[in-house]
Symmetry: C2
Subunit: 200 residues, 2 copies
Amino acid sequence: MINLTSRQSEIFEFIKKEIEINGYPPTRSEIAKVFGFKSPNAAEDHLKALKKKGVLNIVSGASRGISIVKEDLGIPVIGLVSAGGPILAQENIEKRIPSSQNILSHGVDFYLRVKGDSMIEAGILENDLIAVNKKTQIKKGSIVIARINDEVTVKTLKSISSDLVVLQPENSNYSNIEVNPKTEDLSFEGTCVGLLRDFS
Amino acid sequence: MINLTSRQSEIFEFIKKEIEINGYPPTRSEIAKVFGFKSPNAAEDHLKALKKKGVLNIVSGASRGISIVKEDLGIPVIGLVSAGGPILAQENIEKRIPSSQNILSHGVDFYLRVKGDSMIEAGILENDLIAVNKKTQIKKGSIVIARINDEVTVKTLKSISSDLVVLQPENSNYSNIEVNPKTEDLSFEGTCVGLLRDFS
DNA sequence: ATCATAACTGTAATTATATACAGTATTTAA
DNA sequence: TTAAATACTGTATATAATTACAGTTATGAT
């Protein structure tokens, strides 16, 4: 989306809010009134700009013929992660879940389908969907999505220092994974902020 | 909601669809055109009837001033279940999650907050939200929400016959619960169709 | 220095829309 | 059986709304 000016954002947000509240979009005059414009044409100009920038659809001739262009593809669900590319690469996306359907309190950047049983003692089973937030601060004790030499894994972060990172599976049959970030390729894709299991 | 006539339902569904598709409601003339009315007043009459029956809001004077009355309170989240009443009693409802936010593929009648650790080996932890469907056929092997003498419990249904129901915790520290439905008060509130965990 | 964009005022005309009133015919509930 | 509700036709009109055209002022980019 092309960047909107701050004024255009205000107008855009107002239109979205009106649709949310009233169930239908505002007219030019209603916009003008709220923003103190003395002419409905000021609103018209804004609508044209917003249309040009691709965030609104306007049906000519129709009263209140304004609609929001939704570019929201939804939150991607990542199945198998193919080697050598970013986790969010198109080929990894199994499906998308509309972000309007997000129940979790945290922001969810993507869902990752769990493979294996290494986390069963934390109540994370095979095929569960883990909700991942990319920006949450990685810290000791949290369940992290790590990438070690192109392998994606979900583990509890046990300790972290400049030359040793310890990742702990939550399954007594597995041992801790110790990684030296100086010699191995280690990155964190995000933190687990939720879990979704669908019995189907 | 008062029952709509079949014609009124058609009109109502059309209006909902139009809002979904266009982002704004239809005019009287648009309704009339689609249904083949020769007068926009036929649509006007229908709108008045739908308003009277409480399924539409109409803002007088506003073009396309039609909105859907939403009676959807959302899917209830049940916390502690107080004794002696139905599980869905008002006092048990912790909050509601808009049903539009339901990610799970099955119908979810309510969410139940899990107390205790009796199901941890099935990956169901304390404070998880279990998605419950009331109508799914109760069958051996599924995780059921049972009510024994006014106590609500989540367990795996191990076996079921007319004089013995065995409920199995998924935690080796607990033993099976055996109930005789003839002498004890046993009912099934539903089946677990999903799980939601929010790390917050 | 000039041009495009942004953010408006002001006027005005065409058309889109709501909605009242007067009917008709059929069906449904008291 | 009688009134109310349903489901329309047909006409008409006030007003709601879009939207073009002609300007002004300010700002940032080429």
